[in-house]
Subunit: 429 residues, 3 copies
């Protein structure tokens, strides 16, 4: 593990991109091997057949090779050229079939005729190939050899977890999913952003942070469900959570609120995005999407939101080979990491303080709390922040509430708190 | 009673239009005789002098003939040509008077100079005539014979009631008023719409519906007050109520909220109007209007809203002979019945359900709840509805709440409930 | 005290303007001597050194003369020409100094180069002069004689209080601050408006009003803090409060809400401003400003708002000699008094009434409560007011609530209350 360098997210994504991942299998393990160079993940293996609420951990899927040959023996479709060519979880096959039989096993994406679509059949045994619509239209009557050298056997579901222990058991959960094969924005952008965030915080927190930070790298849906099943008793400690996905494209950020809609994470993320002047949208929770569907299922209803740029399904290249490096940018990935670091900072400092001198204003002058001469704007913001903090530290408003009420930034308010605590005017509630 | 045909509302209105109705009298009884061909109303007679809260059932008023003759013996005003010519509840008179004396007994409507206004004097014994303003202006000095052959005697207030018994005592109340003489939009449009609604539901509910449905045809104000007085102990069963009036004109629908403002009927009607893409407005309760003034008086404060098109007093022809067949349309009447039928349907299906598998999403695939191939849009709506219903069936949200939250229609949500109940994923709370 | 005349606020302001006031001293006493001709204020003297929460009453400051002479003996700055020339609370000085030394003791206001700024140094012993920026720029190398004949000694803080006793101990507090020297809008406009309000109410309330009215004329900040310190046990009686300041300029009124934001005074003032068709803005509480900072400190959190025109610091002439008679108008001052008188009237009449006949509408006709023929608009408003008042007098809504809900004015609602009480339809809750 190299923790002396900063993480180059594009480089990391280029390493991860070619691997054929699915919800189980060696592609996932290989992915964790690479990620462990950045974050000291613990890798957990959960056996096939393990019950997880309404679900069962499926058989493990692995694949060595696959192709379609025409009667001349030419490989017209080759798994080695793109692992998207095979429907994920395809069972083994080795047959000669007619064009009409073949067509029933082919998926295409007519809206992007040059792209190979991404398809899966996790829970219904089947096999199939994905090809560009352009190629599909050019297929001729022939006898085709279809070959998939895969295995679907008892094995394990593999996920990764990294914890930064905090002073309290209260947790901040940051999750992403690692089950998608060669695509950039969906899945991988979230993986590299969470990896960099974890790496950065790991180095930053020389002392234990206030919260315990848990980073999850799981196969989507079944992985989150499995994790929740194994951690059901502990989820009460999750104070704030964020699912990170589709965050590398070149559009503005979107924060999707938790199901609660008014959780602290909702308030904090919205204010951080505003404070940082980051172009963004905020949307209410809806029960489609990524693993927030599990964390925000009604039995859990955890305070977990989601940070994205262009949401799953909202961009044309989604779930196809066109979701590649051309649609993402390093700037977008770095921007997301910055916002998440600011969010962590805001979470750490957000508390309720109480004005120890609540009757009339305290005399700031005798405590040298009137800003002295100097850079006008900054000093005036400091005095504003002092007045708002003193007036609204009534046991009902936390730091973020006061920032929202005042129009000042979270960090403007946070900056004056040590001054006021030192002056004996403020204490933790 | 003919229940083999659908109700022709315009035809029914043409039968009812010529009758001289008031808050009591034989005109009301004749009206019920006609309505009973459509709805098996029970007709209730309440004696003059009966106390009803702050009110007393007045004497019964009947009228045989009335006219004004000039000195040549020409009938210049004739009750037989329009029953609006006589102020309702006019006492008998038979006198010869001068023009100036006559003018004190005449009402006109200068804003519509060709229309005869509609006037009443229920609680102050008096008599008078209503004529067009144009005629009024042409009256010459003369001796006029004024003749009203009416009676004001102890009798009864008559109202009609029809009940469809439900599985529970919880009631849906639909009311209209039958006290106005020859006018179309005010009063009669509500009467024919409620009659058709009752007729349709009577035929539709082969099994008992969930709610008991009560249809009231009462004289406005005193009739509603009398009914409330006689049913004071039972009004607690009224779960939803709608007053229907002024619903035949050619403008958009207006829903006037109950006094509570957030009653279930308010939520349901507003969502039905939205779902059905019916142009409409929603207004808050105000203490003018029709019988919602009584149902929503502070002592009762019942969940009763009002459905109209152009509200009483908001259209020029209101309370005059110009409120005739030219300002209403069959399409408007049918549109109102459709909305009310949809509302009833929504009321019947609206319940709180609870997700039986609240921890993480249930595995829809193994239950064959993933929509199979087919008409894309519809299938996708079904999956959306399944996800919203499962996620928000937490014991706090009913079907309409989930429809509102999701942006899907009430019937989109309702459509998936049997599937989810059958799959054991949902149960009634 | 002359109570036979109405108060001429401009004339009063002309008397008060020349006096050199500060937070203590004889200028304040002289001010009260003049104000006592209008309002029979009680003048309270609080000794130097008295503790008031986090503050201490400072030494008393008085000044007889001050000037700067050039080496030719010419007075280039003369306190007798404008008392703004001396930094308030300047210690005595009598020295000859160079231009560069002098410049360190000079304050100017470059944005208004002809104006003398207003500066203070209450809590840090210091001395200084204020001059126009234009004069500052023309100062030449020279030896200057700086002379201030002031005293800073144990003495008193002086404030004025006038109470109109009411039928109850519940109080309406109206405050202004009297500590500013020769400026019109900041400080003096509030003083004359509150004085006229007090004078007018004193004459108006021949019987005891419902509330006790307390008018405070205090030095800003330290005066309010001192008063609160001496009255800590009684502030629970403050039902409504208004700080009046910067109310003479020619812009629209601004109502700054209490910290609570939903106090009765907030609701009442906003509705009065709307009812009176006075152009105005409403802003939420913020912890800068005048003495509402003390009344709305979190320990007190009193229902005290603030009425202004252009707020402190929002107009260019603020805290300078340009804040003079040219920027204010009698009309502005009178308009403010009118709004405050209406507010007092609204406070006095605002109660919760209960409909004694809550089941169905009462029969208004038999009680002669249907407006008789006459001025149409007014009569119709009366009937509207009767209906709204009866319907919403359910024990949850006070007069102002009903006015807000109905869109009628507070006084439209208030006007029908005696009619309804006399008719036995309404009673105090």
């Amino acid at each position: 593990m190299k923790d002396d360098n900063t993480v180059d997210m594009i480089k990391l994504m280029r390493q991860l991109f070619p691997i054929c991942r699915s919800i189980t299998g060696n592609g996932v393990r290989e992915t964790f091997k690479i990620l462990r160079e950045v974050v000291p993940l613990q890798v957990i293996e959960v056996p096939t057949g393990t019950q997880a609420f309404d679900w069962t951990v499926p058989k493990e899927w692995n694949i060595k090779d696959a192709y379609i040959k025409n009667s001349k023996g030419e490989k017209i479709v080759d798994f080695k050229k793109s692992n998207l060519h095979v429907v994920s979880y395809s069972t083994p096959v080795n047959e000669k079939i007619s064009l009409s039989e073949l067509k029933q096993k082919l998926c295409t994406y007519p809206e992007l005729p040059d792209a190979i679509p991404y398809m899966t059949s996790y829970y219904k045994e089947n096999w199939g190939f994905c090809i560009s619509h352009r190629q599909y239209e050019q297929l001729k009557e022939d006898t085709y050899e279809v070959f998939i050298d895969s295995s679907l056997e008892d094995g394990h579901l593999t996920y990764g977890e990294y914890i930064i222990p905090g002073k309290t058991k209260d947790e901040v959960l940051v999750t992403c999913y690692i089950c998608h094969p060669s695509m950039c924005n969906d899945s991988l952008s979230g993986v590299v952003v969470v990896a960099k965030l974890a790496h950065t915080l790991m180095k930053k927190f020389s002392d234990k942070p206030r919260y315990t930070y848990r980073f999850l790298f799981v196969p989507e849906t079944i992985g989150a469900i499995t994790w929740l099943s194994k951690n059901k008793e502990n989820v009460q400690h999750i104070s704030h959570g964020i699912v990170v996905t589709c965050i590398g494209d070149k559009q503005q950020l979107t924060y999707k609120r938790s199901r609660r809609g008014n959780a602290a994470i909702d308030k904090i993320m919205e204010k951080v995005l505003k404070d940082e002047n980051v172009p963004h949208a905020v949307v209410d929770f809806f029960p489609n999407g990524s693993d927030e569907r599990q964390f925000c299922s009604p039995g859990f209803n955890l305070p977990v939101g989601s940070l994205m740029r262009t949401a799953y399904g909202k961009y044309l290249e989604y779930h196809s080979s066109a979701d590649d490096f051309s649609i993402i940018s390093e700037k977008s990935l770095e921007g997301a990491v910055d916002v998440l670091l600011k969010t962590v900072e805001a979470i750490e400092i957000n508390r309720i303080y109480v004005n120890c001198n609540p009757y009339c204003e305290p005399n700031l002058g005798k405590r040298n709390l009137y800003p002295t001469m100097g850079a006008g704007k900054k000093k005036s913001t400091q005095l504003e922040a002092i007045k708002w903090t003193l007036n609204f530290s009534d046991g009902q408003h936390d730091v973020v509430d006061i920032a929202i009420r005042s129009g000042l930034s979270i960090f403007d308010i946070a900056a004056v708190i040590p001054l006021l605590v030192d002056a004996g005017l403020l204490r933790v509630a």
